[in-house]
């Protein structure tokens, strides 16, 4: 690895100018030699030669002189290998300026110095990338788990998310989070409601989002004692009360119905092995339907004309909801069968691909919106599922009619290099604070830290779906009685670039399950535990 010093980079030129105002010109040589001892000779000789070339402004001359001589000496070292794609504004650009284009131009302007290595840390590798600053990010996440000051009242309803984001981020960076087991247990207990589910804190209404976060946090720390915190029977009843006649789920009793609800319900039902029957109290109870009835149809109703997925039918396509939709379907059935059955795959792939921007390399959430680190997961995390859906079935399996005509995905459907560059160059907070962020000049937070790392993880790994769709009974085209997709076998490999790998091997973070967004072994452990206690054996007790 070649370590370059900042001296060759543009920003330092400016600093240098400020250091040497006009009247101190005479002392220039002396002071430069003291601050840059390595370039001592170069400065002394070349400045002499070029004295004749003094034009109108000796101020600029001094600066140029130094930089020229200095960089000449450094040219022995190779330039970092950064493709032009990530160094220049995009090739096709319109003249018309609107609020959107102004923001976009500003973002590119902010990102480019980080992408080319002018801004950011000193140590860059041959490819112009900085290292993943694990130590700082780990410290940041650990601090975010600690007591938070009073101004965090604004996230009082999102505290379970803090558990998941931090624990998940730490897990991906290789930390053992089982030491948090006891505190997760204690914290989760106060958040659970007798009526089922977890709220944002003591006395807060149960919400699917907070329940999802708590269950994943419990799965991350693992252990029977942690699993036992969950009141499975109450959870099932509560989920039934959220199920709507149109197939979707409300996020809380009296709350909105959207695609987050669909995804989270699928996650909870399969992780906890809940029975699918509906209670008679459920708004969706009709004697025939179950918890999964119409769920895939609800997902389908959220695909928009652009091909992306919206939060609710008739809204704008949005990256976060695309992940929810695909992951929900992947849990319901084998992605090879269910995704093409319910979604317009060519449109979806097109829309997803357009989420990636150049030169930034990162993903945006919507058409004509800005890149944001968190879509590394929401949009980037869709690709393992899309690639699985396009991958050919094994020999002898039931041929998937819907997916014929679509070629298998190439090595990579999106630019992994672009995403990794954006993450390592633009999303790391290189100050003492640590953590990962939306984009340069934004504050890092646990949300972005986790989802940027999730995106990095999916860019660094390749997932192979090792299950073929099982034949469905009665000639059905979709499963309605079981979430068989949850049983899909996934194999994960480090993604090996056919060209050079642009990041250090030590910067590879751990893989997470493409649908559950936590490591596979945690998914398997919690499912095995609850499957081993079918029904409500654990909670029914003497009933």
């Amino acid at each position: 690895m070649v370590v370059r010093t900042k001296a060759t980079r543009g920003r330092n030129r400016a600093i240098f100018i400020r250091k040497f105002p006009k009247n101190k010109k005479e002392n220039m040589a002396a002071s430069t030699t003291s601050s840059f001892p390595t370039s001592q000779e170069g400065v002394a000789t070349s400045s002499q030669q070029n004295l004749d070339a003094i034009t109108d402004d000796d101020f600029e001359y001094v600066d140029e002189e130094f930089v020229l001589s200095h960089s000449a000496e450094q040219q022995a070292q190779p330039e970092p290998m950064i493709p032009d794609l990530f160094k220049q504004p995009s090739l096709v650009k319109d003249d018309l300026i609107t609020a959107t284009s102004q923001l976009q131009d500003q973002t590119v302007e902010h990102c480019l110095p980080f992408l080319t290595g002018e801004d950011g840390p000193l140590d860059l590798n041959d490819y112009g990338l900085s290292k993943l600053n694990r130590e700082k990010h780990i410290k940041f996440l650990k601090q975010s788990l600690g007591p938070l000051p009073g101004r965090f009242v604004a996230v009082d309803a999102s505290r379970p998310w803090y558990l998941y984001w931090c624990l998940s981020g730490l897990t991906m960076m290789g930390e053992d989070v089982s030491s948090y087991r006891d505190s997760v247990i204690e914290t989760a207990r106060t958040m659970q409601n007798e009526s089922g589910g977890f709220g944002g804190g003591h006395g807060q209404t149960s919400h699917l989002a907070t329940t999802y976060a708590v269950i994943l946090a419990i799965a991350l720390v693992g252990g029977e004692e942690a699993y036992d915190v969950i009141d499975k029977k109450a959870m099932w009843k509560w989920l039934c009360s959220l199920k709507q006649p149109d197939g979707g789920f409300q996020v809380c009793v009296g709350g909105e119905e959207d695609i987050r609800g669909a995804y989270i319900a699928a996650v909870i039902i399969t992780l906890l092995d809940l029975p699918l029957d509906l209670t008679p109290e459920s708004p969706a109870y009709d004697g025939r339907s179950n918890l999964l009835t119409g769920l895939a149809e609800y997902v389908r109703s959220c695909q928009t004309f652009e091909g992306g997925i919206s939060s609710q039918p008739n809204n704008e396509a949005h990256g976060a909801y695309a992940f929810c939709a695909l992951a929900c379907l992947a849990i319901l059935d084998n992605p090879r069968r269910i995704i093409p059955s319910y979604l317009d795959v060519p449109r979806l792939v097109s829309w997803l691909s357009y989420r990636q921007y150049a030169p930034e390399g990162g993903f945006s959430g919507r058409t004509n919106k800005l890149v944001d680190g968190c879509y590394s997961h929401w949009a980037g995390g869709c690709f393992p599922l899309i690639e699985a859906c396009l991958s050919p079935s094994g020999p002898g399996s039931e041929k998937n009619k819907a997916a014929t005509g679509l070629a298998a995905a190439p090595e990579s459907l999106y630019s992994r290099e672009g995403l990794i560059r954006y993450i390592l160059c633009c999303c790391q907070d290189q100050t003492k604070r640590g953590g990962l962020r939306d984009k340069p000049y934004k504050m890092s937070d646990p949300y972005h830290t986790n989802y940027v790392l999730s995106g990095l993880s999916s860019a660094q790994h390749q997932w192979d779906l090792d299950s073929d769709p099982l034949p469905l009974p009665n000639g059905d085209t979709t499963p309605s009685l079981a979430a068989v997709g949850a049983d899909s076998v996934w194999n994960v490999f480090p993604y090996i670039d056919e060209n050079d790998q642009i990041y250090e091997d030590s910067d590879r973070v751990r893989p997470i399950h493409p649908a559950y967004a936590i490591p596979q072994k945690n998914v398997n452990a919690i499912r095995a535990y609850f499957q081993g206690r079918s029904g409500f054996a654990s909670t029914l007790g003497g009933e």
Binding site: L85, L91, V92, D94, L96, T98, A99, S101, G146, P147, L148, G150, V153, V155, A157, R159, Y162, Y180, S183, T187, R189, T190, G199, H202, G203, Q204, T205, H207, G254, G255, E256, E297, R300, F305, E306, S311, N314, N315, E316, H318, P340, V345, W351, S353, Y354, Q356, G361, R366, N368, T404, G405, A407, A408, A409, P410, E411, S412, L413, Y414, S415
Partner: protein, 612 residues
């Protein structure tokens, strides 16, 4: 009986420790006088005046114990020499008192038992024994040894008047007086400051007593008690309530001053009198625990209480407003607020008016929009039969949405609400709605949220949209003129900024919806691409989206070679970031040569799923 036993025991014990008898001990006194610098303490105690004479002296103010330590005239010089300086703090004063009232113990602590004179040792042992009885459990203490008996023992052993009522423990910093609200030792207060604090405590106690009387009266009034003297029912007057309010604010000030206890607005409020708050319950070491500001913590504890009892009342409404002001992202409070509104029959327009202000102050908040959704759901049936009222309400809502979208043009939650509202109030045919969207697109042709809303407005109109059709699916019922109009609109906007993807996506969506071949816009697409594949210098692409669309058009027309060229040029030069995607599209082309074109395939897949 017990008294006698104890006396003999003490005497025996003392004799055991010290071969001298009690009387001998008294006689030993004069010997000590020979050593002026090391007088046994017993000395001045021996010469203490009898208790009865103390009455002639001015009574000491602080504690009765001081009376016993008054120096006698004979010992004046010695006493003044050893007397400590005037105390500056409360702790010092107490420590001096301790030394005065427990001279033997004080001397032992200073020098150690072995260094004391024998008389003093004896005095110390006697002192310990007598105080020991005080250390016994309270119940047995009084019956064990009264003050009189103690004195008798003292007299028997030491032959002097006793010091029975000395301070039990040596006053220590912090432990004796405790800390004030700033964590400072109250013992370190100056006497004046301490007195000041003491006065405040008295004032607080007085207020608390009055407040208790008031609360009891309120309780009596509730139960319909009759005043025994006047024979009238007890009524708490407005004046009394006002007085109580003043009292409570005074109490809150005093409590904060004295103990740092922050009595929130609610605890001191008469209105919340009957509610027992449920404090935040969380174990030590809970993760991501927030150090709640006192006001928020208090409000939440009252919220938990009223939510548990399912109370719906104006005060609950005010409480939700109070909490929302501190944390607008609190979904629980919003839902509870909605429940209150509906239970109390609060006017929905009033609530919406209040909500408008909150929404403008919290642009990124989305609980607000679900709340609004609930309000409109509730309000709609009351106006649904009156078209005029409905139109009026729709206009009002739109005006507000326009105002808020001008602040934050792509706010996802606002647009979601707007899209839902169009369906709820049936604003499909409302020309103003389409106009206002057009205006937004004119302001920023890249506002994709506005484009999306337009698509819904035009193509989800239940008048012709087939229910259950997917957005990317052909709908035969959509009128042709609408499709033509929208294609034209999109094209006119695409000219303004060809690389803006919104109109391209829109146009493609319209064509698919209308079931038109993409080839119908081939000419339009080709306007943005010149001399493709005719050399690096010659080739001109004004819009990669045009190139993308052309690739599909050529594929649709089975001109795979041309389609492949478009995709190749996108991958090689014009849109390299999507290299993988373009490669996949090219693979799809070759695959479909043996099977079918992707477009047809998709339709079939959609039909298959529609049957499910």
């Amino acid at each position: 009986m017990r008294h006698w036993l104890l006396t003999s025991f003490v005497t025996l014990f003392v004799s055991f420790c010290n071969p001298m008898t009690a009387n001998q001990c008294v006689q030993q006194g004069p010997r000590s006088a020979l050593r002026p610098h090391h007088f046994p303490l017993s000395n001045h105690l021996i010469t203490m005046p009898p208790k009865g004479k103390a009455a002639t002296k001015p009574k000491a103010t602080e504690t009765p114990a001081t009376t016993t330590s008054n120096p006698t005239t004979t010992n004046t010089t010695r006493q003044t020499a050893s007397q400590p300086s005037e105390p500056t703090t409360v702790l010092e004063r107490s420590q001096q008192r301790y030394e005065k009232t427990r001279p033997f113990e004080a001397a032992r602590q200073q020098k150690g038992l072995s260094k004391l004179f024998k008389e003093d040792q004896k005095g110390w042992i006697c002192d310990q024994l007598l105080h020991l009885t005080n250390r016994l459990p309270a119940a047995s203490r009084s019956s064990l040894l009264g003050p009189k008996a103690s004195k008798e023992i003292w007299w028997t052993v030491n032959g002097t008047n006793s010091i029975v009522r000395g301070l039990k423990h040596k006053p220590e910093p912090y432990t004796t007086w405790g800390t004030d609200r700033n964590g400072h030792d109250v013992g370190s207060y100056t006497i004046e400051r301490f007195d000041e604090r003491f006065r405040k405590r008295i004032a607080l106690t007085a207020l608390q007593v009055s407040s208790r009387v008031f609360r009891e009266n309120v309780e009596r009034e509730k139960r319909g008690f009759v005043d025994a003297r006047s024979g009238r029912e007890i009524i708490v007057t407005e004046r009394e309530i006002d007085e109580e309010k003043v009292r409570r604010s005074k109490m809150a000030v005093l409590k904060k001053d004295l103990y740092g206890a922050i009595t929130g607005r609610l605890a001191e409020s008469v209105e919340w009198e009957d509610v027992v708050p449920i404090p935040h319950e969380e174990p030590e070491g809970a993760l991501a625990a927030i150090t709640y500001p006192a006001e928020y913590a208090e409000a939440m504890s009252y919220l938990r209480a009223v939510m548990t009892t399912k109370e719906y009342s104006p005060r609950c409404l005010r409480l939700t407003e109070h909490i929302i002001a501190m944390n607008p992202a609190h979904y629980t409070v919003w839902l509870y607020r909605a429940a209150n509104i509906f239970a109390l029959g609060i006017s929905i327009p009033d609530e919406i008016e209040w909500l408008n202000e909150v929404a403008l102050a919290n642009l990124k908040n989305y609980q607000i929009w679900h709340h609004r959704h609930l309000l409109v759901e509730h309000y709609y049936p009351t106006i649904s039969s009156d078209p005029e009222a409905l139109a009026q309400f729709a206009k009002q809502e739109r005006d507000f949405l326009i105002a808020i979208l001008s602040e934050d043009t792509k706010n996802y939650h606002v647009w979601s609400y707007r899209s839902w509202l169009v369906g709820k109030l049936g604003m499909w045919e409302d020309e103003e709605e389409l106009k206002s969207i057009e205006k937004m697109i004119d302001e920023d042709v890249r506002n994709n949220s506005a484009w999306s809303h337009r698509f819904v407005l035009v193509f989800s109109n239940p008048k012709y949209a087939t229910p259950g059709k997917a957005a990317t699916e052909k709908d035969e019922k959509v009128p042709q003129e609408l499709v033509d109009r929208e294609v034209k609109y999109a094209q006119s906007k695409a000219f303004l900024a060809p690389q803006n993807q919104s109109p391209w996506n829109y146009m493609r969506g319209v064509l698919v919806k209308g079931g038109q071949p993409l080839a119908s816009v081939q000419g339009f697409g080709e306007e943005f691409v010149n001399k493709l594949g005719e050399g690096e210098e010659e080739e001109e692409v004004k819009s990669t989206h045009a190139l993308d669309l052309l690739a599909e058009i050529y594929a649709e027309k089975k001109d795979n070679e041309k389609a492949d060229l478009c995709l190749r040029r996108l991958a090689e030069k014009w849109d390299k970031i999507r290299g993988g995607y373009w490669e996949w599209r090219r693979k799809c082309l070759t695959q479909s040569e043996t099977e079918k074109a992707p477009g047809e395939q998709v339709e079939e897949a959609e039909e298959g799923s529609a049957a499910v």
